[in-house]
Amino acid sequence: MTAESWEQNWYYSALFFLFIALAFYGALIIKPNPRFKEGGWGCVVLSCLCLIASLFVRSQNAQYFALSNMYESLLTVSIGIHLAFLTLDRWFNLKLLGLPVICLLLFSLFYNLQLPTEIHPLQPALQSYWRSIHVPIILLSYALFTLSFISAIVFLIKDALEPKYQPITENFTLMLGAGGMPERQEFAKLYDEITYRCIAFGVPLLTLGIILGGMWANEAWGNYWSWDPKESMSLVTLLGYGVYLHMRVSESYSAKVLAWVSVIGFMLMLITYFGVNLMGVGLHSYGKIG
């Protein structure tokens, strides 16, 4: 079998495992059985490994770390979402987050399939070890922001739907642990906190990514900052999440307001990630679709 077909086989296997995970996490919402959870989690692990394998085969084939066009970039973000979700799910023992996360993963991986996938030689500016540090770090922060967004949406929906002070059985540890029934407030706080934690991890990563980008630009062009649209927009995203963090530490805004601010932050991130490429001006035109 050729390297290309191996690359595809791994990719499709990942999709296959994600569908099984979808079934598990769907069942979990109907019936909170820890076994569904274990099954779902395990499938996400397998899917993650398959995607890593696919990217690895592709990199071998291209003879450079395959992270130079939209297809590869979206694949890397998806791997990041897998990793972040696996960690969060273990950490907080969640019930509701799995389903929307897996739906989103499936959507983006299917969307990705119709992007051009040919391997092209690297242009001079991209032949640098900085590329293999700068880009993945930023993409990992995007993955975290995506999770913060999903968690904020789950929070907002639940917040709107749930009658006040109805006992909920969201968090398994709290449910099965020594304590009594946690209250609705606790559930809301939990998703609020997941949003916060993702942002609290994402912001340092994005900052580091932007800083490394600056160092790379200084090495390649002699400018660590040139107000190029992609740069400016990534700064806008960072400022957006900066607003979120400061609103949070000021302790004078409700969780609902904060959730909306994080949704705006995610929109800014989407503009940075897709929008600027569509405009097609500036130095970062490598990521153009097609």
Binding site: P121, Q123, P124, K189, L208, V236, M247
Partner: protein, 521 residues
């Protein structure tokens, strides 16, 4: 937040009062610069301003004529408002200055409480715990000593730093018990995380200051140089000091820089490319040597994209390349370099006399300039007194198309096109601030890393009751961020304490952080 109150006793003189009032006025005026609320407002304003610069086409990125066309009559007004040069407009810089002072004063103000929280070990008495908002009460039958040594190991296992104190009782209610000692625990985890934000803000302040320093001392220049030529930085086609020349304090080095060689490397011919694009450039190299005015060699290095040459804070980058117009040909085996020296039917051509009767016209085509060209090539025509050699009426004159490296014959002569000469586009940058900026970057990154964590604090004391009643174990817990994870950990600690019989298993006072304590005031 700490507030500064100045105690003024009647003994104070009038003038001192006035001094205090002045001081207080300044302090209060600065106070608005310190607030997080202002930081939020400024961050939002900066965000909107930066985004305007992305959405509105900017000078330098988009052609002026195109911008004028797009905005028509609004152009002049919008230009006056700086909307086409957002990032260098006075209002954007003003916003940055405000931001700078906000952060400077804000960080100073937060340094002390953050440092205190990170380093101070404070113990709390049962009464202090009882009156705090978030606390938790258990009854225990265990003697103090066992109780506390068990709690201590339990917390240490969870990576808490635990401080244990034995203290004589002072509170009134305990005097009836005749016991005269109590244990108190202060435990904390990740206290240094409190310093994270301060470190971040310090880093940002340092970054902004460094960039101001760079504005006063740095410059940028661009120069196109053919191989074999040399130049001085001051002769560059483009030279720009980072600040207005009237206030610029920097100096331009007086070195002479020679380009010894320049070459372009292409990917192999069979490389897959987008559409039917020409063979992509893999890398390009210029060999530079930098000499002092007296001619002494300071440094020599071959540069390429991503691999610049630096002498102190001055760096030479490989930025671009451009055909010089010189073409290396050979005619009948003899080298015959020619230059583009005129135009013919709107095309740049080289017009060379091979002999008094015979003229060679060379039309060059370059990959980087002419659409659809796969490889540099030339088309050669020969002319004599009568016109194009061998031309038949109504037909294209006989000609020879040669790609780089090809040989061909025309009119019984052999021609070879060896290559086109390229000049290297150098970008020169003098940035004495760069090491400071990088240091600031590292500080920001470290501070951000520290801020991810959230400090957890626990105060545990035992309130001893009369012998027949069980003692009360009081726990005060505090964290500013990441509350759910902390509560989860507290639940686990509760379970362990119950398992160990430190706390009564049947205790109805389950840890429930969201239920307001009955005892709370």
């Amino acid at each position: 937040m700490t507030t500064n109150t100045i105690a003024i006793t009647p003994a104070n003189t009038h003038s001192r009062k006035k001094k205090h009032a002045a001081f207080k006025f300044i302090w209060d005026t600065l106070a608005c610069f310190r607030s997080v609320q202002l930081a939020i407002v400024l961050l939002v304003l900066l965000l909107v301003a930066t985004m305007l610069g992305v959405l509105i086409p900017q000078h330098g990125l988009v052609e002026i004529t195109q911008i004028k066309q797009n905005f028509g009559n609004n152009y002049r007004m919008m230009n006056a408002m700086g909307l086409f040069d957002v990032y260098s407009s006075s209002w954007f810089i003003g916003l940055e200055v405000l931001f700078f002072f906000n952060m400077l004063f804000g960080s100073f103000q937060w340094l002390r409480p953050a440092y205190m929280a990170a380093t101070q070990v404070i113990f709390k008495t049962p009464n202090q715990v009882r009156t705090a908002k978030s606390h938790w009460v258990f009854s225990t039958k265990q003697p103090q000593q066992i109780c506390f040594s068990r709690i201590k190991t339990l917390l240490q296992k969870r990576n808490y730093r635990v401080y244990l104190q034995e203290q004589p009782h002072l509170s009134e209610e305990n005097q009836t018990t005749n016991k005269n000692r109590s244990y108190q625990i202060y435990a904390t985890k990740a206290p240094w995380s409190r310093l994270g934000p301060v470190v971040v803000h310090f880093g940002i302040v340092m970054m902004l200051l460094s960039s101001v320093f760079g504005a006063f001392f740095g410059f940028k220049a661009q120069k196109l140089v053919s191989p074999g030529e040399s130049f001085k930085i001051e002769d560059s086609e483009f030279f720009k000091a980072n600040a207005n020349p009237a206030v610029w304090l920097g100096q331009v080095p007086d070195w002479r820089i020679k380009v010894n060689d320049f070459k372009i490397e292409y990917y192999p011919d069979n490389t897959k490319t987008v559409g039917n694009a020409p063979n992509p450039v893999k890398q390009y190299y210029a060999d530079l040597s930098v000499h002092s005015p007296s001619g002494k060699l300071i440094k020599q290095q071959t540069i390429s994209v991503n691999h610049p040459l630096s002498v102190g804070s001055t760096v030479f980058y490989q930025a671009s390349f451009k055909p010089t117009g010189k073409l290396f040909l050979s005619v009948n085996g003899k080298p015959r370099p020619v230059e583009i020296n005129t135009t013919f039917m709107n095309r740049q051509v080289s017009y060379t006399e091979l002999s008094p009767e015979l003229i060679m016209l060379v039309f060059p085509f370059f990959v980087q300039q002419d659409p659809g060209v796969q490889k540099n090539n030339v088309v050669i025509f020969l002319r004599d007194k009568e016109g194009f050699v061998g031309q038949k009426p109504g037909q294209m004159p006989p000609n020879l198309r040669l790609a780089e490296g090809q040989i061909g014959t025309l009119h019984n002569m052999t021609f070879e096109y060896k290559k086109a000469e390229y000049a290297t586009g150098l970008q020169i940058k003098h940035g004495p601030e760069v090491p400071w900026i990088y240091t600031a970057f590292i500080i920001i990154a470290i501070g951000m890393g520290m801020s991810i964590f959230s400090q957890r604090q626990l105060w545990i004391t035992l309130d001893e009751k009369l012998p027949e009643k069980p003692n009360e174990l009081l726990v005060l817990y505090k964290t500013r961020k990441a509350k759910s994870s902390f509560y989860k950990e507290l639940k686990e600690i509760e379970a362990e304490l119950k398992n160990d019989n430190i706390v009564e298993k049947s205790d109805k006072n389950n840890f429930n952080p969201h239920k307001p304590s009955q005892e709370a005031v």
